[in-house]
Symmetry: none
Subunit: 528 residues, 2 copies
Amino acid sequence: MEKVQLYDTTLRDGMQGENLFFSPEDKVKIAKRLDDAGIHYIEGGWPGSNPGAAHFFELAKKIAFKQAKVAAFGATRRPGISCDKDGNLAALIDSGAPVITIFGKSWDLHVNEIMDNSLEENLKMIRESVAYLLDQGREVMYDAEHFFDGYKANPSYALDTLEAALDGGTRTLVLCDTNGGSLPCEIEEIIRSVMEHFKDRPGICYGIHTHNDCAMAVANAVNAVHVGATLVQGTINGYGERCGNADLTAIIPILAVKMKKDCMSEDNLKKLLNLSRFVSETANMPPVNSRPFVGKSAFAHKGGVHVSAIMKNPKAYEHMDPVKVGNVRRVLVSEQSGKSNIIYKAEELGVDLGDDAVKQRQIVASIKDLEDDGFEFDAAEGSLKLIMEKLTEQYKSYFDLESFRVVVEKDKEKPCYSHAMIKIRVGKTTEITSAEGDGPVSALDNALRKALSAMYPQINDMHLVDFKVRVIDGSDGTDAKVRVLIESRDTDNIFSTIGVSEDIIEASWQALSDSFQYKLSLEHQTPS
Amino acid sequence: MEKVQLYDTTLRDGMQGENLFFSPEDKVKIAKRLDDAGIHYIEGGWPGSNPGAAHFFELAKKIAFKQAKVAAFGATRRPGISCDKDGNLAALIDSGAPVITIFGKSWDLHVNEIMDNSLEENLKMIRESVAYLLDQGREVMYDAEHFFDGYKANPSYALDTLEAALDGGTRTLVLCDTNGGSLPCEIEEIIRSVMEHFKDRPGICYGIHTHNDCAMAVANAVNAVHVGATLVQGTINGYGERCGNADLTAIIPILAVKMKKDCMSEDNLKKLLNLSRFVSETANMPPVNSRPFVGKSAFAHKGGVHVSAIMKNPKAYEHMDPVKVGNVRRVLVSEQSGKSNIIYKAEELGVDLGDDAVKQRQIVASIKDLEDDGFEFDAAEGSLKLIMEKLTEQYKSYFDLESFRVVVEKDKEKPCYSHAMIKIRVGKTTEITSAEGDGPVSALDNALRKALSAMYPQINDMHLVDFKVRVIDGSDGTDAKVRVLIESRDTDNIFSTIGVSEDIIEASWQALSDSFQYKLSLEHQTPS
């Protein structure tokens, strides 16, 4: 099996993504997880560009990584000075990182128009910077920025820049599609030409760095490996500037499982889903359900035909066993679904529907009635579990509502003001609490939380992450039936609940109350 | 320029996506936008599978499309019966759709293991079903389900299934990577083999249908065109089961701009961004900022180096001019982008922004600020018009709010009870009314209607037809900012209004109050 090295740049290029920020401490946590999953290189930042990046390298020195090497990123020296006078190179050395990745300009347009530099001086900058850093005893990689655009514009100059890096002494050339505009066939053809050009210089490791502006970052990276690249740069979840970088959570299983490359062990591959969730959680970005391999929907089946086929042979509608990347098959219960979906789903949720076929049919019928009423359980597995428990008398209620009252007031142009009063019962105890909120549901959420937190302190680590309302039947104006979907999360779980009613507050209450009941039922399962 | 036909299946395969649902009326709205953008085929649903799909085809018959042809989707006849006894084929014919796309099994595993059918009978089903539908005078396309997996398992049988479809009389063979597990190099190689195999049968149109399970749906579709496919199936925003279908909003600009294929006019290409937004709004799915070409971040530049380079020459960090797809470059420097859109829009809505360039820039800036706050005016032209009128001092208020109070009460298992009191002023008259409703917004709607109807009887022919709520920033639970979109209609018009606030009632009030103001402003224009 041919070895492919994985180079993660979530902490550097990934952080260029809009709304993305990691503190140095966040970076340390992520770096440990990347190392634990068997990533070979972890690029921690550009130490010359900001103090936060430099701080991470200070912290990283104290970590005993299992195998990962930490890399610092920076530019070649500035034009017209010697390397030992360049602050950026000094910062790279001071970072103490065992690997230094420097980028240089491959595209004559950048050298001439943007840098106002000469083509010769640019080559000298590349050669001298690489040699200078190698002299410091570091492993040096060369990132050829805009290589593919540069090659398309002026192939011989683009090749000269690589030659300069090789002359400086590095053996790792990373070809970058910085603007993300290249197509797989172009990437393939250009890499082949480069390899042909340097075929007399043995031992070169070709790396690939792609962006997703044409929705092709993964395909371009995989195609590069297909023609001989042996190092892949990317980010977890494809985070990065504009449309993002190449998503390692997709590239890794493709290389390991489909192309049989030696890049990550089977055991580590199973950590991919959690790694993806951990990074999105640390970035405070909602996980993308449709994300290949690691998304919640990546192995979710909706159509009844698909589900019954899957039960006969999963290969029928699944390109890979989800377990390999730590994911699970999910069967969605929807309008179109049949009995087989519901029985399968009950098993998955750990609810025993019993063996009585008549009783089973009644349960299925009850769930289908609720679906006809507008409950969309494929988006609300938390509520589906509670309802299955209710239908099979396995439901335990952790609290009961006595009453609530919500008041919303508005005066002229002043914003609305909402407050809620709630009375609940837990066993023999009655709690009456009152709270304000940004809107009636928020006030109700706060009042319920206040009422329950004395008895169930574990609810404090749960919070609502998404709240969606939709009119089911658009024909009756504000009297129409609405569906409220709530997504909640605690430290370990994400769960969704649903409510349906003509009244938005009633529907919200159902979903809200289910989310608390579901959370409390989860806590109950873990040994205390 | 070689022609490539675009086949949209957002309304059928796209709706298989988790949490995705379109009513027949939603589908009509989307179909009109697809047609307006120059999509060649619009697949509306599987009429045999559910009543909602059939209803769309009823509605579609009444639409005069500019160029798009509507397609109905379904399976080949069942084993062991004749075509005229097959309910599914009958439903396809009854749909009245001018194009029928039927899918058949290419993979022997499906025929044998899942269908428990014979390989021979499967070929007959394909041949006879195609012939039967052609006899009805329809254009018939053949979707070869699981073609690439089937070819990998048993190439000669997979080719036999295509041969059966050709023998049935169709000339359009759509090769499907149903499970989304194929790599670009496999797709390329297999399509070349198929083309070689049928090289003596002239006039075959090859289509491609891909899924994104390996993050390669776009690359696979584009690669197929690269080797000679001339029809591409996909969905807007890549919606679809599991990881989604091939995203047409990426494929189209790649084909048109980068590969110079004749698939969409330059003018229509500029509608892509709005089409993407419209479909995500209708689906009530948050638009993905990092989506290639049409995402909010697709041409957003964060780094200062990038920004100054971009100002010297946009090509430096941009693979394409964003204007071509209706998008805009976003940089930290203040920008005039979108100004022309807004001026154009004002003209369309009949608001005179005046000739003063300074004033115009202020108006554009104010609207852009509101957009940054979460107002999405593309889906709320009613509110956009009112805001433009306010900014140009042309706004006439038909009523003013003094105050309102809404109370929601719930007792144990009884449903919620809502009532509202409202005090409004029209000129010198003050009205205080009170009303109940199914929920707080409904109560408020009823109370406002009651207060206004004495003075403005014309509001009685207006009613609310859709009400959508979405959390804009999913990270803050019930405290997060929500956007409420209301669609209203009277006898002649449909108009949409918007409100944004941390408080759902406040946001609802903004949208509700705008809908009444807008309605009254309309009435004012018509001679009475």
